[in-house]
C-alpha cells in the first residue's frame, strides 16, 4: 500500500473506512472506482477495510461507515443498527441513503399490495416503504447526489481527515450554472429545478443541456412557490414540476404540500 499521507509535515492516521449498500444501484460506490485519475491517491488517504464489491477481506473495525441505498426491509434496520454501533462517523452516501432516492417513488402508491403484485404477481416478497437511513439511525454526514459527485466525495473525505467542518453549499444549482456561463434551459424550452436545488454538483446536468431533477434535494431557503410560478410561466404543467420534485425524495415535504393544495 502507498505510504501514509502527511499534512504540514505531520503524518496523518489513515482512517479505517467501510462501505455498505442497502437498496441501491451501487452506482455511488462505483463512482469511487470510476475516478481512475485519482483513485490511487484516494486509496492512500484511507484504509478500506470493507468494500464487498471490490474485495473479499471484510474487516469489522472501522471508524467511518459509508452507507449507500435506502431501507426497504427489516433485516436492513438491524444491519444499520450494527453498523452504527461500530462506526464513529456514519455517512449517508448518495440520495438513496439521504432521502430514499428513486426507490421512494414506489411510496406514492397508496396500495402497496398493488406495487408488489404489479412486479411479482401472487408470489410473496418481503418489502416496506423505502426510507432514508436517518429514519433508522443517527446520521453524522450526508453526501448528496444521484450519483454522488466523486470530486466532492474526495474533498469531504479529506476535510473529515483534517478535522475540518464540512459545509454544503447553501445556494442553488443556478449559481453554479451561471458561473459556467450556460444558456438557461428555460430559454431553450426545457424545465429545470436549478433555482431550488442545493448546489455542489457544479450544475452537472444543465451544463450538459439537461434540466436539473433535484437529485441533491432543496437548497437552504428554497422557494418552491416561486419555482412553481417559473414553471407555469414557461408553459410546464404541475405534473412536470411534480415529476421532478418527487424523483429523489429530497423535496418530499414540498410535494405533499403541492398535492394537498391540489
Amino acid at each position: 500500500m502507498p505510504a501514509n499521507l502527511t499534512y504540514l509535515g505531520v503524518e496523518l492516521a489513515r482512517p479505517r473506512v467501510a462501505f455498505f449498500e442497502l437498496s441501491s444501484c451501487e452506482g455511488c460506490q462505483l463512482q469511487l472506482l470510476n475516478n481512475e485519475a485519482t483513485l490511487l491517491d484516494f486509496l492512500s488517504l484511507v484504509e478500506v477495510v470493507r468494500f464487498r464489491e471490490g474485495m473479499t477481506e471484510a474487516g469489522d473495525d472501522y471508524a467511518v461507515a459509508f452507507v449507500e441505498g435506502s431501507v426497504t426491509r427489516a433485516d436492513q434496520e438491524l444491519q444499520l443498527a450494527e453498523i452504527r454501533k461500530k462506526a464513529k462517523v456514519m455517512v449517508a452516501f448518495g440520495s438513496c441513503a439521504c432521502f430514499g432516492g428513486v426507490n421512494q417513488l414506489k411510496n406514492r402508491f397508496s396500495d402497496q399490495e398493488w406495487v408488489k403484485r404489479e412486479v411479482y404477481g401472487d408470489f410473496h416478497v418481503d418489502t416496506q416503504l423505502a426510507r432514508p437511513i436517518s429514519d433508522v439511525v443517527k446520521v453524522d454526514l450526508m453526501i448528496y447526489g444521484c450519483p454522488v459527485k466523486k470530486e466532492e466525495v474526495e474533498r469531504i473525505v479529506t476535510d473529515l481527515l483534517l478535522g475540518k467542518a464540512i459545509n454544503h453549499p447553501k445556494y442553488p444549482v443556478c449559481m453554479e450554472c451561471k458561473a459556467n456561463e450556460n444558456i438557461c434551459l428555460f430559454d431553450l424550452g426545457e424545465p429545470c429545478l436549478g433555482p431550488v436545488t442545493r448546489a455542489g454538483c457544479d450544475a452537472w446536468c444543465p451544463s450538459n443541456r439537461m434540466g436539473c431533477w433535484g437529485c441533491r434535494g432543496p437548497a437552504d431557503a428554497a422557494n418552491i412557490p416561486q419555482m412553481a410560478r417559473i414553471m407555469a410561466e414557461h408553459g410546464f404543467s404541475t405534473e412536470t414540476l411534480l415529476d421532478r420534485l418527487e424523483c429523489f425524495g429530497g423535496f418530499a415535504a414540498h410535494v405533499e404540500e403541492i398535492r394537498k393544495k391540489g
Binding site: 463512482q31 472506482l33 418489502t127 452537472w204 431533477w213
Partner: protein
C-alpha cells in the same frame, strides 16, 4: 470421491449485489447446491406506472450503477419504438459508440478488479498496487479512457445526462473525438498486454451444455436491436422477447428466473460470441483464437475470455465509428418527439447480456405498464444449475472444501452478475 462438504458463502464478494452460495455434500451424495439471491427488490416496474414517457429513461437508468448507459439506451429505444421514431444515422453512431465505451469500462472493471484476483490467489486487486503497479496502471488507464469517452458523448459516465428520446441534448466536439481516437489507438497495446496476462491464468476446466441467447447480427456484431437468437435454434423478432425469457418466480431468489428450450439459459459475452463469432473484427478474432474460443463453447468460465475478446471488438469498432463521425459534418443532435399510444420493445446487448425494456403508453404518453428483463435475471437459473453440476464434479474428484468454494465463487463471478439490477 469426497464424502462430505458444507459450504456457505454469504454475500459473495466482488460481484454487484447480494447473493449466497450453498453447497452440501453428505455421504458422498450432493444434498444441495444453490445460488440464492437475497437482494431487496426496488419495484421499478411499478414506480414507472403513471409516469410520462420522458421519465422512463431517466428513472429506469437508475436500475443499474454499472450499465446505466445500457438501461438508458434500451429505455429510449423502447419509447422511440412506440412513437414510431427512427433515429438519424448520426444518433445511431453516437449511441453505439457510447455503448461500446460502457462495455469496455464494465468489462475492464470485471476482468481486472473482480475476476483477476482469484487467478493470482488474492482477495482484491489492492495488493497489486504495490507488487505489480504496471498491471493496475494499465487497468486504470483502460477504464479511464472508456469513462472519459462516456463523459464526452453521454455527458456523464454514470446516469448519463445527454441521452434523450430523439437523440442527444448536445454533441461532442470533433476535437474531443479526434483525441479519443488517438487514445483508442494507443489502448490496443494495453489490450494485447491484457490478453498476455490472461494467457497466464488457468481457466478452470468445466463444461455444462447450455442454451445461449443473444441478439443476432446480420452484417455486424450486434449491440442494439434486431432479432433474438438461441443456440438451440430459436430465431425471434425483438418484440417477441417474452418467448425468449419466460420469467417465473422461485423460492430461493428475489430475482426471477428465466428459461427457453431447457431448464435454464445463459446470456452475456460468451452467448454473443457463441452466436456471432463470424462477425468479430480481425484483431478480436485473433484474440479469440489465441484462447481457443470457438462456438459453441459451453465452459462458463470462458465468459471472462469472451469479455476480453469483446474489449478488442468494441475498440476496433469504435475506431471505425469515430472515423465516420469525423468524416461528416455534425447535424442537429435531436429530433422532435410526437407522442403516440402503444406498446414498444427494445432489446439491447449490455455488458452482461441481452436487456429488454417494454412499455405500454396511453394517448398522453403515460406509462400503463412497464417490463424490464435484466441479463442477470436470465442467468440466475443457469448459475444455479451450473453450481449443481460443478459441485458433483468436484465431489467426484475429491476436491477440498476450500477448492470447491473457490471454484464455485469463480464460477458465479465469471457470469459477472449484476444482482441488484436482476432484482430491480
Amino acid at each position: 470421491m469426497k464424502l462430505s462438504c458444507n459450504i456457505s458463502v454469504k454475500h459473495l464478494t466482488r460481484v454487484e449485489g447480494h447473493g449466497n452460495i450453498n453447497i452440501r455434500i453428505k455421504d458422498g451424495k450432493l444434498e444441495e447446491a444453490s445460488w440464492e439471491v437475497v437482494e431487496t427488490p426496488r419495484f421499478f416496474e411499478a414506480m414507472l406506472v403513471g409516469k410520462k414517457w420522458d421519465n422512463a429513461p431517466y428513472i429506469s437508468g437508475r436500475i443499474c450503477g454499472i450499465c446505466s448507459i445500457g438501461h438508458t439506451l434500451a429505455s429510449i429505444r423502447a419509447v422511440e419504438n412506440v412513437f414510431g421514431m427512427v433515429p438519424t444515422r448520426q444518433t445511431n453512431t453516437l449511441r453505439l459508440l457510447l455503448k461500446h465505451m460502457e462495455t469496455l469500462q464494465s468489462h475492464v472493471l470485471h476482468l481486472y478488479f473482480l475476476a483477476a484476483p482469484d487467478f493470482v490467489s488474492l482477495g482484491s486487486v489492492l495488493p497489486l498496487i504495490t507488487s505489480h503497479p504496471e498491471v493496475v496502471q494499465r487497468a486504470v488507464r483502460l477504464k479511464l479512457l472508456a469513462n472519459d469517452a462516456c463523459d464526452i458523448i453521454g455527458g456523464r459516465r454514470l446516469h448519463p445526462t445527454r441521452t434523450v428520446v430523439g437523440g442527444f441534448t448536445m454533441l461532442p466536439e470533433k476535437e474531443q473525438l479526434e483525441k479519443l481516437k488517438q487514445r483508442l489507438l494507443a489502448s490496443v497495446e494495453d489490450l494485447k498486454q491484457t490478453a498476455a496476462l490472461f494467457t497466464t491464468f488457468a481457466i478452470p476446466d468445466f463444461v455444462r451444455e447450455t442454451e445461449f441467447v443473444s441478439l443476432k447480427g446480420t452484417d455486424s456484431y450486434p449491440f442494439i436491436g434486431g432479432n433474438l437468437l438461441s443456440t438451440d435454434g430459436l430465431d425471434l423478432p425483438e418484440h417477441e422477447y417474452k418467448k425468449m425469457t419466460n420469467e417465473y418466480c422461485v423460492e430461493i431468489s428475489t430475482s426471477k428466473w428465466c428459461r427457453v428450450s431447457r431448464q435454464s439459459m445463459a446470456v452475456g459475452a460468451l452467448a454473443r460470441i457463441n452466436n456471432n463469432h463470424h462477425l468479430l473484427a480481425p484483431l478480436a478474432r485473433q484474440v479469440a483464437d489465441q484462447f481457443g474460443l470457438k462456438p459453441v463453447c459451453h465452459n462458463p468460465y470462458m465468459n471472462n475470455i469472451a469479455q476480453l475478446v469483446e474489449c478488442v471488438q468494441v475498440v476496433e469498432d469504435s475506431l471505425a465509428l469515430i472515423d465516420e463521425l469525423l468524416g461528416a459534418a455534425m447535424l442537429e443532435p435531436r429530433q422532435p418527439v410526437a407522442v403516440k399510444a402503444g406498446i414498444g420493445v427494445a432489446a439491447v446487448e449490455v455488458p452482461r447480456g441481452i436487456l429488454y425494456h417494454c412499455y405500454d403508453f396511453d394517448e398522453e404518453g403515460r406509462i400503463r405498464k412497464a417490463d424490464c428483463v435484466i441479463p442477470t435475471t436470465q442467468n440466475n437459473a443457469n448459475i444455479h444449475y451450473d453450481l449443481n453440476a460443478l459441485a458433483r464434479q468436484c465431489a467426484g474428484e475429491g476436491k477440498t472444501d476450500r477448492e470447491i468454494e473457490l471454484l464455485a465463487s469463480m464460477l458465479v463471478r465469471a457470469y459477472d452478475p449484476c444482482i441488484s439490477c436482476s432484482v430491480h
